[in-house]
């Protein structure tokens, strides 16, 4: 074997090891933050937190992702920031969960939504990992879709059309399913080497799929 062949193989091996490390750390941090977020959601449900506090938590989480995370993502403090914003988002789920828990089969709806979200995430991650395909070509499409959905949601606040909200929730599930493929393939193909940022992206996808699935199931239930 020539020196150049040896070094190419060595570089490929080191790259694969590095990718596996990012993936392993991402899934480990994701598991812990999902548990922490669920605990915070239970706390806020018990405390009967209102929609105003929930909105304030969402603003707080956005501020952390926007202003603090970019400065701390490369250090150990980034992990603490991820726990802080996932905790805030989990806490902000309280009023939504209480709304569904007040229904006769609300607990069943929430459990179905959680199970459905887990199945979607595991299925899509497994698909991205086994195919090893590069889904980075989706970047422009997904972000353009996200802007359209946000604009539709903005209009929905003023128009008060139940059908529009149904369409928005369905679009959110499809869009964030695409983001799971996009984010996972970026980790596999070396586009994302920071597990803190990778966890943030996948957590937000899971969070949005869960809430939208819960709304859709709530609509179907009614």
């Amino acid at each position: 074997m020539s020196d150049s062949q040896f070094s190419t193989k060595q570089i490929a091996r080191e790259s694969a090891l590095s990718t596996n490390k990012v993936l392993r750390n991402t899934y480990a941090l994701l598991s812990l933050t999902l548990i922490f977020s669920a605990v915070m959601a239970m706390v806020s449900t018990t405390m009967n937190v209102g929609y105003g506090a929930s909105l304030a938590c969402t603003f707080g989480a956005l501020a952390l992702i926007w202003f603090v995370l970019p400065r701390t993502a490369e250090s150990g403090a980034g992990v603490a920031v991820v726990f802080a914003f996932t905790g805030l988002l989990g806490f902000g789920l309280g009023p939504i969960l209480n709304h569904y828990l007040s229904m006769a089969n609300g607990g069943e709806l929430i459990a179905t939504s959680m199970g459905g979200t887990a199945a979607i995430f595991l299925g899509l991650s497994g698909y991205a990992l086994t195919t090893q395909r590069d889904f980075s070509f989706l970047g422009g499409f997904l972000f353009a879709g996200l802007i359209i959905v946000l604009l539709a949601a903005f209009a929905g606040i003023f128009l008060q059309m139940p059908g529009l909200w149904l369409a928005i929730n369905a679009a959110v599930i499809m869009l964030f399913s695409g983001f799971i493929l996009f984010d996972t393939s970026r980790i596999i193909n070396g586009g994302e080497t920071n597990y803190v940022l990778a966890t943030t992206g996948i957590f937000l996808s899971i969070y949005n799929i869960f809430t939208s699935l819960l709304h859709l199931l709530g609509f179907a239930n009614e």
Binding site: Y51, G52, L55, T58, F59, L62, I65, W66, L109, T112, G116, A119, I120, G123, L124, Y127, T131, R133, D134, F135, S136, F137, L138, G139, G140, F141, L142, F143, A144, L146, I147, L150, L151, A153, F154, I157, F158, A170, I173, M174, S177, G178, L181, L213, L216, L217, F219, A220, N221
Partner: protein, 61 residues
């Protein structure tokens, strides 16, 4: 219009401002899809749509 609705509207505006730089970057720099890429994306997404539809049907019964 309630204060809560104004709050949600402001949150959406903040989200739009937040994602705009990333959206601009990916709209400019996304690699072109190769042959079979869109099919590879549409297959799992159609599975997700079917799965959600089945869940909704189960809940509606």
């Amino acid at each position: 219009m309630s204060a809560l609705e104004i709050g949600y509207a402001l949150l959406i505006v903040a989200l739009l401002i937040f994602i705009f730089p990333a959206a601009k970057y990916w709209l400019k720099n996304s690699p072109k899809a190769e042959k079979g890429d869109w099919q590879a994306f549409l297959f799992p997404i159609s599975m997700v749509i079917a799965f959600v539809a089945i869940l909704m049907l189960i809940v509606a019964r």
